[in-house]
Amino acid sequence: MTIKFVLLVNKQGQTRLAKYTDSSLTTDERRALEAEIVRKCLTRVDKQCNFVEHRSWKVVYRRYASLFFLVGIDDEENELGILEMIHCVVETLDKWFSNVCELDIMFSLETTHHIIDEMIANGCIVETNKANALTPVQLLERVS
C-alpha cells in the first residue's frame, strides 16, 4: 500500500513537479511514463472516474483549474482515500500560497516539495493536518 509517485502537470501536459518513491525507473523511463500517463489522464472528461490504470499502477488524478494532480499507487491502496489526500495537499498548498496557482509551484518548487514531503513520506501519508504540515516550512521561511 504505497504511493509510487506524485506528479503535478499543467493543462498542456508539462510536468511542474515530480516526486518518485519508486526508484526502479531511470530518468528517461520517467519521462516516457509521464508522457503516457498525462496523455491518458488529460483526455478524460469530468464525468469519468478519477482513476486510470496504467501498467501495474493505478493513477488517481484530480483537476484543479489548469493544474492536474496525479498520484500513482499500487493495487492495495484505497483509491478514494488518495483522492481525499490530494485535496488535503491542495488545501495545504492553498493555505501557504493563498490561492495556489501554477506559477507559485513553478517558482517555489523547493517549498512545494518541502510541503509535500511533510505530508507524504516514503510513499505513505504522514500528516494530514494543515497547520502541522506547515510549521516546519514557516520556521524555515523565518530563518532565511
Binding site: T27, Q48, C49, E79, F107, N122, T128, V143
Partner: protein, 742 residues
C-alpha cells in the same frame, strides 16, 4: 556566472521549440559544471535547486551529485534542506556516491534540531540501501521512542523502508512498533499503523503476536467515529478518515483467518458500516475499506449482508468513482462469496458498456470471474474497439472452457471471428477446426455455418474468418451442395447453395484485393479438395488454381503448381484429397491449452500425476513445509521460494537438483513455462552436469512475476533434459501445488 533559478525558469518558459529549450539547458549545464569545478560555495544552494528543475524537465544531472552531498554536510538548515531534497530527487539507491552520505545522515539523525532529524529520516526513508539500513537502523529504532511526536511519526515510516531492506532487523522493531498504537497524536498513530501493516506484510509470523492489539485498535476506531467534532483532523465532518482507513486495513490483516480476532472487531465494524456518512468522498473511502475488511475476515452472516448491501448501493451510485471502487471490491469478494456478486450481474454487465474505460476494464475483469456453465449463454454482446483484443480472447477462452455443446461453440466462435476476427489468436482458430474435424455429425452444419458467415460478411471479413471458413468449405463443401447435406438443425435457416455457388464464393475470396498469401493458400487448398467432389465444376476449379501458377508468393505458387499436377493423376488425386481423419486431440493439446485453465481443467490431472511421478517437486519455506515424493528417476528437483523485494507478486525460486543415481547426468538443461499472466526469467544453471550421489550440487534461479497475484495461483510446467550414460532423457511435468499465497 550562472543564472538565478527564477531567470532560468523564465528563459525556459520563453522557449518556443524543444530545440531552443535544449540550448538553454545545455548552456546552463555548462555554466553549472564550471561553477562546480571552481568549488564555488556561495551559490551551491541555488545551483542544486536548478539541477532539480532540469531533472524534472528530463535532462541529465549526474554531474551535480557530489554537490548535493556537500550541501548535506553544511551546517545551515536551508542548505541542508536543499541538499536532502537533491538527494531524494537526483539520486537513487543504485548510485555509489550514496555510500558517502551515510556519515552525514548519522550526524543529522543525532542532531538536536528536530527538523534536521526529520529531514534525515525523510531522506533515509526515500533512498536507503541495505548497507545504509544496516548502519543506521539502530538510530531509527532509537528515534521511534523519541519524546517528540514529529520525530516518532517520521521514524515509523523510515523504519518500514529500513526493514524492507534488512529483514533481519525485524525482530527488535516488531517488538517496539505496537507501542506507537498507544500514541495520542493522530499522525504518529497513522504512521504506527502503517508500520505495523508493513511488518505484517513482510513477516506473516508476527501477525499472531499482534492479534492481542485488536481491542486497542477497535477502541481507537470507535473513539474516532463516536467522539465529537475534532477540528484538527476533520475532513468534511468525518474525523480523520485516513487514520480510520489505515486501522480498518490493519484489522483486516489481523482478523483474516482467525475467528476470535474477527469476533472482537465485529461490533466496531458494524458501527463503522452503519454510522459513516456516505454523502462525502471521505465517508465512502472508509466504507470502501470497511466492506473489504468485513468480507476478508471471519465475519458473521449479518455483517456480510450489511457489507454486500453497501456494495449494492455503491454499484447503483451515479458517481463513477464510487462505481469503480464497487467493481474493484466485488472482484476481490468474488472468490469469497460468489453468490453475493452474482446477484449484481445485471448491473455489472451494464458497466461493461460504460463510456469510461477504467470502469469498463474493471467490469470486464469481474464478468470474466463470474462466468460459469450456468450463465455463459447470456454472455453475448457486441464488442468495443478498445477491448476487442482482450475481450475476444477472453470470450474464446470462456467458450472453449464452458461451451454447453459443440454447435454452440461453433456458432459463438464464428460470431467472434465475424466481429473481431483481427484479434482472435491462431490457437482459437485451430481449436475450432479441430473441434469441427472431430465432430462428424456437425460437418455439414459447419459447412453451412461457414457459408452463411462468409457470404454475409465477405466484404469486411478478417483473414482469420476467411481461413477458418474456407477450410470448412473445402473440407465439407460437398455436404452443403449435395443431397448428403442432412437435416437442418433446430432453428437453422436453410442454405440454398449449389456447387457453383461454393466455388464462386471461394473465387471471390481469392480475388479479394487485400487477401494475404495465407488466405490464398487456404482457398487454393479448399478448391483442390473440392475438385474430385464437384465433377461439374472441375474445369473451373482447375482454371482458378492454375491462375496462381505465376504468383510471386512462393508458397502460393508451389501449391498452385502441385495441385495442378495432382489433377493430372486421376488414380491418386481423389484419395489424396479425401476428408482428413479425426485428429488426436492430445497431439494438439500443447498448443491449444489456454494456460490459465491448466490447473482447473480435468485433463490436466493426468499430467500433474505424471509430474509427481517424474519429478518430485518439494516445495517449502525454509525446507520445513511439504514432504518429498519418491522420484522414479535419479533426478530430484527441490524448489525453495522467497519473495523478492517488497513486491508480493514477484517470487524468486531457487531450484536445486539432486542426483541419486550412480551415473552423472550430463548436458543438463531446465526449461520452464508459465501461463501468460506471469512472466518468467531464468538465470543460467550453476553447472551443466550433476555428479552422481549429489544433493543440491547444482542450482538454478527462476524469477516469476505474477500479474494476477492473489487471484491466480502460481503454476508452471517444467521440461528437463539431460544425458544419462550418453542416452538423452527428457522429463516433463507440471507444478501446480505451490503453497497458497505465493
Amino acid at each position: 556566472m550562472t543564472l538565478r533559478l527564477r531567470d532560468l525558469i523564465k528563459q525556459v518558459r520563453q522557449c518556443k521549440t524543444a530545440a531552443e529549450e535544449r540550448d538553454v539547458i545545455a548552456k546552463e549545464s555548462a555554466a553549472l559544471r564550471q561553477a562546480f569545478k571552481e568549488q564555488d560555495g556561495t551559490y551551491r544552494h541555488r545551483n542544486v535547486a536548478k539541477l532539480m528543475y532540469m531533472h524534472m524537465l528530463g535532462y541529465p544531472t549526474h554531474f551535480g551529485q557530489m554537490e548535493t552531498l556537500k550541501l548535506i554536510a553544511s551546517a545551515g538548515f536551508p542548505e541542508k534542506r536543499v541538499g536532502y531534497l537533491g538527494l531524494m530527487i537526483l539520486l537513487d539507491e543504485r548510485q555509489e556516491v550514496l555510500m558517502l552520505v551515510t556519515n552525514s545522515l548519522k550526524n543529522d539523525l543525532n542532531s538536536r534540531n528536530q527538523y534536521t532529524v526529520g529531514l534525515a529520516l525523510c531522506a533515509l526513508g526515500n533512498i536507503c540501501s541495505s548497507e545504509m539500513a544496516r548502519d543506521l537502523g539502530p538510530e531509527v529504532e532509537r528515534l521511534l521512542a523519541s519524546q517528540n511526536p514529529y520525530l516518532r511519526k517520521k521514524a515509523a515510516l523510515c523504519a518500514s523502508r529500513v526493514l524492507r531492506k534488512v529483514p533481519d532487523m525485524l525482530e527488535s522493531f516488531a517488538e517496539r512498533a505496537p507501542t506507537l498504537l498507544e500514541d495520542r497524536s493522530h499522525s504518529v498513530l497513522l504512521a504506527g499503523v502503517t508500520l505495523l501493516l508493513d511488518i505484517c506484510a513482510q513477516a506473516p509470523q508476527v501477525v499472531e503476536a499482534y492479534r492481542p492489539h485488536v481491542p486497542l485498535l477497535c477502541r481507537v476506531l470507535r473513539s474516532l467515529i463516536m467522539g465529537g467534532f475534532a477540528p484538527d483532523y476533520d475532513v468534511g465532518g468525518i474525523n480523520d478518515p485516513f487514520l480510520q482507513v489505515a486501522i480498518l486495513r490493519l484489522l483486516r490483516v489481523l482478523g483474516r483467518g482467525n475467528a476470535e480476532a474477527s469476533d472482537a472487531m465485529s461490533d466496531v465494524l458494524a458501527q463503522v458500516a452503519t454510522n459513516t456518512d456516505s454523502a462525502r468522498n471521505a465517508g465512502n473511502a472508509i466504507l470502501y475499506e470497511c466492506v473489504q475488511t468485513i468480507m476478508a475476515v471471519e465475519s458473521i452472516g449479518g455483517l456480510r449482508v450489511l457489507a454486500v448491501n453497501i456494495l449494492g448501493r455503491f454499484l447503483g451510485n451515479k458517481d463513477n468513482n464510487i462505481r469503480y471502487v464497487a467493481l474493484n471490491t466485488l472482484a476481490r469478494v468474488v472468490s469469497v462469496d460468489a453468490a453475493a456478486v452474482q446477484r449484481h450481474r445485471g448491473t455489472i454487465v451494464d458497466c461493461v458498456k460504460d463510456a469510461d474505460i477504467s470502469i469498463r476494464r474493471r467490469a470486464l475483469e469481474l464478468v470474466y470471474a463470474l462466468v460459469n456453465e450456468g450463465n455463459i449463454r447470456t454472455l453475448t454482446r457486441d464488442c468495443d474497439a478498445e477491448f476487442k483484443p482482450d475481450l475476444s480472447n477472453k470470450i474464446c477462452m470462456l467458450v472453449q472452457r464452458y461451451a454447453p455443446d459443440k454447435r454452440w461453440y461453433i456458432d459463438s466462435l464464428l460470431q467472434v471471428l465475424v466481429q473481431a476476427g483481427a484479434y482472435v489468436k491462431d490457437d482459437a482458430c485451430r481449436a475450432l477446426i479441430l473441434l469441427v474435424v472431430n465432430a462428424a455429425q456437425l460437418h455439414a452444419y459447419a459447412a453451412r455455418a461457414s457459408y452463411r458467415a462468409l457470404t454475409a460478411n465477405l466484404a469486411a471479413a478478417q483473414p482469420s474468418l476467411l481461413m477458418v471458413a474456407t477450410w470448412c468449405l473445402g473440407e465439407y463443401g460437398e455436404l452443403l451442395a449435395g443431397s448428403a447435406g442432412g437435416k437442418l438443425l433446430e432453428g437453422e435457416e436453410p442454405v440454398a447453395a449449389g456447387a457453383a455457388d461454393v466455388v464462386g464464393l471461394l473465387e471471390a475470396v481469392l480475388q479479394r484485393p487485400s487477401a494475404s498469401a495465407a488466405v490464398h493458400e487456404y482457398a487454393l487448398t479448399a478448391l483442390a479438395k473440392l475438385e474430385p467432389k464437384f465433377g461439374g465444376q472441375a474445369q473451373r476449379i482447375k482454371g482458378l488454381i492454375a491462375a496462381f501458377a505465376q504468383s510471386t508468393q512462393l508458397e502460393v505458387q508451389t501449391r498452385s503448381v502441385e495441385y495442378s499436377r495432382l489433377f493430372a493423376h486421376p488414380a491418386i488425386g481423389p484419395q489424396v484429397l479425401e476428408h482428413i481423419p479425426p485428429l488426436e486431440e492430445s497431439a494438439y493439446d500443447a498448443s491449444l491449452e489456454p494456460g490459465e485453465g491448466a490447473a482447473a481443467a480435468g485433463g490436466a490431472a493426468a499430467s500433474s500425476a505424471n509430474a509427481a511421478a517424474d519429478l518430485a517437486a518439494l516445495l517449502g519455506l525454509d525446507a520445513g513445509l511439504g514432504g518429498g515424493a519418491p522420484a522414479a528417476g535419479p533426478l530430484t528437483v527441490t524448489f525453495q521460494l522467497s519473495k523478492a523485494g517488497g513486491d508480493p507478486a514477484a517470487t524468486d525460486i531457487l531450484a536445486s537438483f539432486s542426483n541419486s543415481g550412480d551415473a552423472p547426468l550430463e548436458a543438463f538443461t531446465l526449461q520452464a513455462a508459465v501461463p501468460k499472466q506471469m512472466t518468467l526469467k531464468l538465470d543460467p544453471a550453476s553447472a551443466g552436469a550433476l555428479p552422481p550421489h549429489s544433493a543440491g550440487a547444482v542450482s538454478q534461479r527462476l524469477h516469476v512475476h505474477n500479474s494476477l497475484h492473489g487471484q491466480k495461483a502460481l503454476v508452471m510446467r517444467l521440461r528437463i533434459s539431460y544425458q544419462l550414460g550418453g542416452a538423452p532423457v527428457l522429463e516433463q511435468g507440471e507444478v501446480s501445488n505451490f503453497p497458497a499465497g505465493w
